[in-house]
Symmetry: C2
Subunit: 119 residues, 2 copies
């Protein structure tokens, strides 16, 4: 019985470890989560909004990240019928699953700042 629990625990660890690696690969880099945070806060946004909201991101990098997020079905891209043309980006339902990740990171970031500025 104790052994069974132990085996189960090892399996659980392996499974979690793989899931973690999957998630890290998908969300790796400086900007993807920052872009998503902007979309959570401001809702559907245009390229320019994102460029201004994600301070110091370059258009090249933003463009690349948006393409990547779209490929992974985390955002949608819509070309609007305006003049001049605008493009809207919105998070998908599936991307709502990432909100807990972002909020956990935000929480940790705040606590860490408090901790190191106190020390």
């Amino acid at each position: 019985m104790a052994q069974e629990n132990c085996l189960q625990d090892i399996e659980l660890y392996k499974k979690r470890s793989l899931s973690l690696k999957d998630a890290l690969e998908l969300l790796s880099g400086k900007w993807k989560l920052v872009v998503l945070l902007h979309l959570y806060h401001h809702g559907t946004s245009r390229f320019k909004d994102l460029q201004e909201g994600c301070v110091s991101i370059s258009p090249k990098v933003l463009s690349k990240e948006l393409q990547n997020l779209e490929i992974n079905q985390l955002i949608t891209r819509t070309v609007n019928n305006t003049k001049p043309v605008t493009v809207s980006y919105a998070i998908t339902e599936h991307a709502l699953e990432i909100e807990p990740v972002i909020m956990a990171l935000v929480e940790f970031g705040m606590k860490h700042r408090v901790k190191i500025t106190a020390a």
Copy 2:
């Protein structure tokens, strides 16, 4: 009143955005969170345990990540009086704050796998 709420929201976003960037910088890369997951599951571990647990990490990279985590006060390093010498790594109290991040990533990783294998 509506304007005040709006200003507050902008401030909130900026604060969150900075916290997120802090956290991302601290935890960036392929391995840090994988190492921490191992420590959450297995408790205090030796170098060799971590090398075997974090499948496919090289000793060079593991060593570098451990140093980085120690510098940022997320783990402690203890040299044991054994023969041959062993070294123990343990998470700090402060690193417990990262558990929600890891678990949120694990959750998302699982859901994402389900989602893309279903499609």
